[in-house]
Symmetry: C2
Subunit: 160 residues, 2 copies
């Protein structure tokens, strides 16, 4: 069960948006171009991020996408949910209620197998909730340095 | 990214196998029947479990499947891996190496986004590694009680 590549793209796109000057928005095509990704797919993922309240679209000549809230209030878990959906990965179909011993397995308590998978999913979730777009963007800024930051801002001016 | 229902089925099937008397094996069709599952799919999943060394097939008239090792040495993580494969859910395609700032992102360190997802996957894995088929089978035995255990063993005799 691989995670959609849209999660990876969206995390990177949000980190780019976090690096924008105040009041600047970027079009989906520019966000796609920054990482050489297919524009149509990037646009689709940005729409999902918009529905989830992670980015918002700004209309007009200099319109495009911006983060909808501060980067330190957007976790990688938020992004994963926006792209992959909010239902648990493990789906319990209560198969213990079938077959010759069915009524013996029909307990009001959740099945221990489902409980174990859901506990593991909570641990996964808690890990991703601790990492925000701000953390990622700060790391990228350190990696880029002053020269890289200047080049990034020049690119932003060019594509706006 | 839902987990395949084969993971759920396989966990239940292994718990059934853990409840068998010594030297008894069950056919894929019987394991499917116990939870009213499609026999062909159950057989496919049992073959995957066999390849992963979780169950082994016993030939002969009273042949079928048994656990390949003690139930307390088989974790839910082992079963998940047998069915879902061993590659990480998050695939890093290093898209930071593309585009106008590509060489700035080309670090020898793993991308922080990938690192965060892989850390979350390790937490998930550690949770599932702590839960064994023996834990699950013990829980089912408690739920069944003596009367349920008798009915289960009667069913085993009937389908062998």
């Amino acid at each position: 069960m691989k995670i959609s590549e849209g999660v990876e793209w969206s995390c990177h796109a949000c980190a780019v948006l976090a690096g924008l000057p105040q009041s600047v928005a970027l079009r989906a095509s520019a966000l796609a171009a920054f990482h050489e990704l297919p524009p149509a797919y990037m646009a689709k993922h940005l729409q999902a991020l918009s529905r989830a309240g992670i980015v918002r679209s700004v209309r007009g000549v200099r319109g495009g996408y911006r983060l909808a809230r501060p980067a330190n209030e957007i976790s990688l878990w938020d992004i994963r949910q926006a792209i992959e959906g909010t239902t648990p990965d493990f789906q319990c179909r209560e198969i213990r209620r079938n077959g010759p011993c069915s009524e013996l397995g029909a307990s009001s308590r959740p099945c221990a197998i489902a409980a174990a998978f859901w506990a593991a999913e909570r641990a996964y979730q808690q890990n991703l909730q601790m990492v925000t777009v701000a953390h990622i963007a700060d790391g990228v800024a350190k990696l880029y340095g002053a020269k890289g930051a200047a080049r990034f801002q020049a690119w932003v001016k060019e594509v706006r």
